[in-house]
């Protein structure tokens, strides 16, 4: 043999290390908790070593659902609902598209999609400022009541 090309390495799929099953069992347990008590939970996929085959098994078993979403903050976060409603796959990337952390969320909605409460307060201020720019003459602040 001379040179690296002479080394006969080939990729063989040997079925993973079995940890995907453990993750699937935890998802089952969390999903039952969501159904019975409405309790939401999250599983950190870096918590157990997974081989590529384990990822494949996880992805195939969970499948694809109806929702895809992307959050742009501190690099992208990509989310998809799996084919099991209530089970979401959430992957945080940095701005170089490298994976920072990966979670399975068992929830009505992944937390990062929800509007942070304090942001809404800031948002109302921002909207009022923009409305004032659009029409400095109109009365501001006390928004009209919707209970007429």
């Amino acid at each position: 043999m001379n040179g690296l090309n002479g080394i006969g390495v080939k990729v063989v799929h040997v079925g993973g290390n079995g940890n995907a099953h453990a993750v699937l069992r935890e998802i089952e347990a969390r999903l039952q908790l969501l159904v019975e008590k409405g309790e939401e939970g999250s599983i950190d996929l870096s918590g157990l070593p997974l081989m590529p085959e384990d990822y494949d098994l996880l992805e195939e078993t969970l499948g694809e659902g109806e929702v895809v979403a992307e959050v742009h903050s501190l690099g992208p976060t990509r989310i998809h609902e799996t084919g099991i409603p209530g089970v979401w796959w959430v992957t945080h990337y940095n701005s170089d598209d490298e994976v920072l952390a990966e979670f399975i969320e068992v929830a009505w909605c992944p937390e990062i999609l929800l509007t942070p409460e304090d942001d809404v307060k800031d948002g109302l201020e921002a909207l009022r400022a923009r409305l004032f720019e659009l029409n400095p003459k109109s009365p501001l602040g006390g928004a009209p009541s919707l209970d007429l």
Binding site: V9, S42, P49, N94, D96, E98, P116, D118, D119
Partner: protein, 361 residues
């Protein structure tokens, strides 16, 4: 700026609350905390002040700094660095020589008793430390001066932690670790040649979050990252349990990704986070690339004999309570919660509503 909280710092950089949540979720993952802790991490990080940090580099190859600063570009890790006030770093700062040393002394005075001191490189003691000096000051003297005003010290890399390569036989400069010189301050060892960037940032994140140093093992390493062996967390571990070993680097077993134990892998005696954190942004790590672990985060790893000779002692197949929990957990469906790297965190993993207070010391 010195008094602002971490959340303020991030906001000033245009990081939104969702970004902060992401930062905290990633930090919780890095610290091996259960994901439900992210909200608590966020609450804690939102309130803390930026700690001042002084970084000294002694007898070293700059590999540690290279590893850390080239980790991820504008990422969570760089944010952790932004979250601290890095007042002095030999290699990274623009100033040099006497001007630099004046800056260091100024910073030390300003935060005397409160700053975090980071050190990479070993300290040569032979011939009055003449083998490594900065602006005419020996490493030994500078370390003693800086340590006196530090709240805690982080020894970054195997050289600072255990002497490392300079300390290897026959140790011509009389190199020693930080902990052989400083006895009156808490010292956190983050060994590795180089150390895993995420581990250092994890330690900083822990310090930021809890305002205290993390739980350490007998060798002064944070248990969160060094609590289990490479072997315990290795994705090839199941092949070890099945008795499937590569015998040479190009046989059938090597191609099938079997265990590298018989090719000299030091995974069973090495404690580090490579198997879970990986390298180069999670791309790969030595064992995944087909080479056994060298044991670079252990004391005297250069003097431990051939990297290619199998460990002679039979290793107990599962070490410690956490690994036992993996076996039970895998059957019971709570694997990740219990296999959690940090013992205290693991105990809390099942409780979604655990708070920071549960984990603080």
């Amino acid at each position: 700026m010195r008094d602002e909280t971490l959340l303020d710092t991030l906001k000033r950089r245009g990081i939104s609350r969702r970004g902060f949540l992401k930062f905290c979720a990633t930090t919780a993952s890095m610290l091996a905390l259960p994901p439900a802790m992210a909200a608590e991490v966020a609450a804690a990080l939102g309130k803390v002040r930026r700690p001042a940090v002084i970084w000294l580099s002694f007898q070293e190859c700059t590999g540690c700094t290279e590893s850390l600063t080239r980790a991820h570009s504008p990422s969570i890790e760089s944010l952790i660095f932004d979250a601290i006030s890095l007042d002095y770093h030999h290699t990274l700062q623009a100033a040099s020589g006497h001007a630099a040393e004046e800056a260091r002394e100024h910073s030390m005075k300003q935060d005397w008793g409160n700053y975090l001191l980071l050190v990479d490189g070993s300290i040569p003691l032979k011939d009055d430390g003449v083998y490594s000096t900065i602006a005419g000051i020996s490493n030994l003297q500078m370390l003693k001066d800086a340590a006196a005003g530090a709240a805690a010290i982080v020894s970054v890399g195997t050289c600072a932690a255990y002497g490392g390569l300079p300390h290897a036989n026959p140790n011509p400069t009389g190199a020693v670790s930080v902990s052989e010189i400083i006895k009156d301050k808490p010292i956190i060892n983050v060994p590795g040649c180089p150390p895993i960037p995420a581990v250092l940032t994890g330690v900083l994140a822990h310090y930021l979050t809890f305002g205290a140093i993390p739980d350490l093992d007998d060798l002064g390493r944070p248990k969160a990252f060094f609590g289990e062996s490479i072997h315990d967390r290795c994705y090839r571990r199941p092949f070890y349990d099945q008795g499937k070993f590569a015998k040479t680097f190009d046989d059938e077993g090597a191609r099938n990704g079997w265990c590298l134990f018989e090719l000299g892998c030091k995974g069973p005696t090495t404690h580090n986070a490579c198997a879970t954190t990986k390298w180069n942004g999670g791309t790969s790590w030595p064992v995944q690339s087909g080479h056994g672990c060298l044991g670079c985060s252990e004391p005297d790893f250069w003097d431990g004999g051939s990297f290619y000779k199998a460990l002679s002692t039979p290793i107990s197949p599962v070490t410690g309570a956490a690994a036992a929990a993996v076996a039970i957990g895998a059957a019971a469906g709570v694997a990740i919660g219990l296999a959690n790297r940090q013992t205290k965190a693991a105990a809390k993993a099942a409780h979604q509503k655990a708070t920071i207070a549960d984990l603080e010391k």
